[in-house]
Subunit: 104 residues, 2 copies
């Protein structure tokens, strides 16, 4: 009945892995696995929904269009308002970084 967020980690690849864990009542929960990935240089995420995201393993930096950089370690969480443009500018290259994202 339960599953583990740290199980079945895919092998390192060219892209991040997005895996939907739940989709119900307008809520989406997903796991994201990064291996040193960053959002491409000139792209920004511009999301229709608010996102609450927690980094559960690894390290990362989220950068915002306004110039703010937020460095995250395991356990750090942040709320990103809809349409607040952001990108993942860095993730730890030598191990996987695991995110839990709640889109609501």
């Amino acid at each position: 009945m339960s599953e583990n967020i740290f199980d079945n980690i895919p092998k390192p690849a060219d892209k991040e892995f997005f895996e939907r864990l739940l989709l119900k009542n307008g809520l989406k929960i997903e796991r994201i696995v990064s291996f040193g990935h960053a959002t491409p240089e000139l792209e920004w995420y511009d999301q229709k929904k608010d996102e609450w995201v927690i980094l559960l393993k690894g390290e990362a930096v989220i950068s915002f269009l306004n110039g703010d950089d937020v460095r995250l370690k395991a356990g750090d969480y942040i709320n990103i308002a809809a349409h607040k443009k952001h990108k993942v500018s860095w993730t730890k290259p030598d191990e996987e970084s695991i995110w839990l994202a709640v889109h609501y």
Copy 2:
């Protein structure tokens, strides 16, 4: 801009600690810290909303009225439908157990 789910752990006390992290758009995200706590013997949680919950530290057992027991370790997550009666029948006594619960 970010906070850490493992920071500011309260001292062990008689009761579990429930801390709201987010309340917006009908979504509630909370942190629960248990120190060997269990739901009282004759009580069951009977929640109006669905709950997606992940154990981030410690160990626990969730029991359901139908007799199912689900043992959880760090990283294990489970979805509990609204009105599915359940209780926390055990948490690890010698360290804190930290839950992240999404009520939606």
